[in-house]
């Protein structure tokens, strides 16, 4: 008999029954020791479903109908006390945000032992022992000392380990993990996923994994439940769903997911036009100085040299803190390099300022990650797109209007949208507007900083298609900054892998992705979840120790193939 058996679960906001529910007659069952992935895009109601199991729905969330059988008992019928005895003890939960999921003013130890004391009435000493054991089990060394530390002294990955330790300490029957790795870098994600898998296996705990990432699903799940607009559109064996998705939506979803086997955009450097952007040995440091700050300045970008040619996409890949965004801003001259040069179509703009800089900048535009913040909330869409043209002054005001309409249509929107305000648009639409704005001054290159990572996969795909289409239309160049190798494969001609402010590997997308040389590149690729259960493979833990080479002395460039270099 299933451990959890959810049937006809219906959840809505507020008492008003007439409002459409956010979860609508969902049935899910989870077997003992089974890993079930609950997949869906934002707003699909997957998280609400999960939260309702342990009765932790937000403020106004109400269960309108259904049963949640757990070990044969209907949790929905439980009172607060009853639920409390289940929470933590029988059902654990892990949340998306490791940075905020732990109480900043309590030591990790205090937070670890709480549950033990409450549920098992262990003594302080005993519970501490258990806590230490759990920490070590989750791969945190010096556990004893670590207990006395505060969350802010842990990295994101570490905190997620602590969460796991905390929740697994009581050997629950079910662990609910809500997007447990979404906020983490791929390499860390890989480690956490491995850890999760191991733990549930060893402790024979069932895992309900809520995620939007098909890659993660493929990596982890035994069975998959696909949700959309509060309803289950499909569920079944992981392999079979990936192999032969039944539901229309599932198919679209899978189609949209870029995989690491798609062909890369192979084109040789020769086929590109003139050089539009050149960064020569640019460096930029932050912090340091200041009356009381003693710590050394952080080298965000450290002597990077690269160039982008008309019509090509150079993908800048790296994990958070690798300095890739700073590099993008340097190219835009939103930051000024400490040393090195920035050349846009052959002109040095490093030392330009004021009017001169403004004129040059038009050749290089930018698209940002957060679609909600990238448009001035007080500007109508039309005004936003018109701004660059008006500033450029080349376009007579009379025709600006038509141009805006045209641009909107090029970006896949209707000219009518010019009248709209940003808050009336969806994320994807905003990103399209951002693109339209970037195109307004027909730049030669666009710096795109994680333009799709805030979007759902289906939307992501559309935006990428649009960008490619635009590029091919009038040999536009992209400096495409991302952490997602799958996206890279989809759009990049060449790839530069960045780590700790340096480029560690640079070459044609095919070369770098298929024949990675640098250990870090290897690790990245190895870590990237492959949206194909068939090719699930055990991975080695942790990061290869390339520290010596990467961190210490610069190291040398070595050509390892045609247009393919690594730092060694």
């Amino acid at each position: 008999m299933a451990l959890v058996d959810i049937s006809d679960l219906t959840i809505g906001f507020g008492a008003d029954e007439t409002k459409p529910p956010v979860v609508d007659g969902v049935d899910i069952s989870i077997g003992k020791g089974e890993i079930v992935a609950l997949v869906g895009e934002s707003g699909s109601g997957k998280s609400m479903t999960a939260l309702s199991i342990v009765g932790l729905l937000p403020e106004r969330g109400r269960v309108r109908a259904g049963r949640v059988l757990f070990e044969g008992e209907d949790l929905l019928a439980f009172d607060e006390a009853g639920l409390r005895s289940v929470r933590g003890a029988r059902i654990g939960m892990i949340f998306q945000e490791p940075m905020t999921s732990l109480n900043p003013v309590l030591t990790v130890g205090e937070q670890l032992v709480e549950a033990l004391i409450v549920h098992e009435g262990l003594s302080k000493a005993e519970s501490r022992k258990r806590a230490v054991a759990m920490l070590e089990r989750t791969g945190i060394d010096h556990a004893e000392r670590r207990l006395r530390q505060y969350p802010h002294e842990f990295s994101g990955g570490m905190r997620q380990r602590v969460m796991i330790a905390m929740m697994m300490a009581l050997k629950p029957a079910l662990l609910i993990a809500d997007e447990p790795t979404t906020a983490l870098d791929v390499t860390i994600q890989a480690q956490i996923l491995d850890l999760l898998r191991e733990m549930v296996r060893d402790l024979d705990t069932s895992l309900l994994l809520i995620t939007h990432d098909m890659g993660v699903v493929a990596e982890m799940a035994d069975r998959v439940v696909v949700m959309r607009n509060g309803q289950v559109v499909e569920h079944g064996e992981c392999r079979s769903i990936f192999a032969a998705p039944q539901a229309e939506y599932t198919r679209k979803l899978l189609a949209a997911v870029p995989t690491l086997d798609d062909p890369t955009r192979t084109t040789t450097a020769a086929s590109f036009g003139s050089e539009v952007l050149r960064l020569a040995d640019v460096s930029r440091s932050f912090g340091g100085g200041g009356l009381f700050s003693r710590q050394a300045p952080l080298k965000a970008v450290d002597g990077v040299t690269l160039s982008v040619q008309a019509g090509e996409t150079l993908a800048l890949v790296g994990e958070s803190g690798s300095g890739k965004s700073t590099l993008g801003r340097l190219a835009m001259r939103l930051e000024t390099p400490d040393h090195g040069w920035v050349m846009v179509s052959g002109k040095d703009i490093t030392r330009l300022s004021g009017r001169g800089l403004r004129r040059m900048r038009r050749a290089i535009q930018m698209i940002f990650q957060d679609p909600y913040a990238s448009l001035d909330p007080r500007f109508s869409i039309g005004r936003t797109i018109a701004e660059p043209m008006i500033l450029e002054g080349s376009v007579p005001r009379s025709v600006v209007r038509e141009r805006v309409g045209a641009l909107l249509e090029r970006a896949g929107l209707s000219a009518a949208m010019a009248a709209r305000m940003p808050h009336e648009l969806s994320g994807g639409q905003r990103q399209r507007v951002a693109i339209a704005r970037a195109l307004a001054v027909n730049p030669q290159i666009i710096v795109a900083d994680e333009p799709t990572s805030a979007l759902d996969v289906s939307v992501q795909a559309k935006i990428l298609d649009l960008m490619i289409e635009l590029q091919e239309a009038d040999s536009l160049a992209y400096l495409f900054i991302t952490h997602d190798l799958a996206v890279v494969r989809r759009i990049a001609h060449r790839v530069a892998v960045m780590r700790k402010g340096r480029i560690v590997e640079l070459g044609a997308a095919a070369d770098v992705l298929e024949r990675p040389i640098h250990p870090y590149t290897r690790a990245l690729i190895a870590a990237a979840p492959v949206p194909d259960p068939a090719r699930r493979r055990e991975r080695r833990h942790g990061m290869p120790e390339t520290e010596g080479a990467a961190a210490g002395h610069p190291g040398e460039w070595r050509a390892v193939g045609d247009q393919h270099w690594v730092l060694a």
């Binding site: 932790l56 289940v86 999921s101 109480n103 549950a115 409450v118 905390m166």
Partner: protein
């Protein structure tokens, strides 16, 4: 943490430094000649005497020189003498500072004892009728001018009912002013506490705590309260400055013999040495107290303590 406190201390010193400059300039912005005012009541003073006093106060010197002299005297604890009666200013201020501090402190205690629990309760019961009621009361409380409240209390409790002494410096006399000040600030504290607590309650780690199966009470005590304390302390800091400001008014209603009353008399009497001294002492006090609160703050928040 030391670094954090170091920065705050530096800020404080800067503030005091600026104050001393402002204070020296103050007397020059005054319409009319302070020395004239000084001798206004004395008949038949000769210009020579005025000159003598001028050079005695160093007013005949260029301003930078005056400033240096002022600092010099300051370091000796000399804030000059009052124009009326030529009493030593430093002594007057020091006599009364404790009274003002006592008033502010007691008022703050009252405000805290009333405001924090109510604010916490409102946050906990947020969205309920009780919450609404509390918050309406709070906003009304903020809107009542404290000098009015003070008078009402004075006339009602002291004059009509004769429950409390009406004026003087007996131990009972602090009750009314402290009550006035405390009550009108309790409302602010309650509001600030509420929003601080609500911030905390909406944090992920509270959800985590619930997910662990902790009881509501335990979550509130161990997690919400501990984490909420940090912002509340910051609120307290602001409160204290309000209190010091309010004290100036309230002292004058209840004839509480603090620096506020001294200052007001001085302003009416155009007794500039007193005004100067007052501003300096007041600013310094605020700086010191804020510094102390920063220390508490740092201790409460590991993110600062451990840096």
């Amino acid at each position: 943490m030391l670094r954090f406190l170091g920065q705050r201390a530096a800020m404080g010193l800067l503030t005091i430094f600026v104050t001393t400059i402002a204070v020296t300039l103050l007397i020059h912005l005054v319409p009319g000649d302070p020395v004239e005012i000084m001798y206004a009541q004395s008949q038949g003073t000769t210009p020579e005497q005025l000159e003598a006093m001028r050079s005695k106060l160093g007013l005949d010197q260029p301003i930078p020189v005056q400033y240096v002299q002022y600092i010099g005297r300051l370091l000796e604890g000399d804030l000059g003498v009052t124009i009326r009666g030529q009493q030593p200013v430093a002594q007057l201020l020091m006599q009364r500072l404790p009274n003002t501090l006592a008033l502010a402190a007691l008022a703050m205690l009252i405000a805290t004892l009333i405001g924090v629990p109510l604010g916490f309760l409102a946050a906990y019961k947020r969205g309920t009728v009780l919450d609404g009621l509390l918050m309406v009361t709070a906003i009304a409380g903020i809107s009542i001018p404290h000098f009015w409240l003070g008078l009402l209390l004075l006339f009602w409790l002291a004059v009509d009912l004769g429950l409390l002494p009406v004026a003087g410096s007996g131990p009972l006399n602090i009750v009314l002013p402290a009550l006035t000040l405390g009550l009108s600030n309790a409302a602010i504290v309650a509001r600030m506490t509420r929003s601080a607590m609500i911030d905390v309650m909406s944090q992920d780690f509270i959800r985590t705590a619930h997910a662990k199966g902790l009881s509501k009470g335990k979550v509130l005590r161990r997690h919400v309260l501990r984490a909420g304390l940090v912002p509340v302390v910051t609120v307290m800091g602001l409160q204290f400055t309000f209190m010091m400001g309010g004290a100036i008014v309230v002292e004058n209603i209840f004839a509480w013999n603090g620096i506020g009353r001294l200052a007001l008399e001085a302003i009416f009497q155009r007794d500039y040495p007193v005004i100067q001294g007052f501003i300096l002492v007041f600013a310094t006090t605020v700086v010191v107290v804020m510094l102390a609160l920063d220390a508490v703050y740092a201790l409460l928040d590991p993110r600062i303590r451990r840096s």
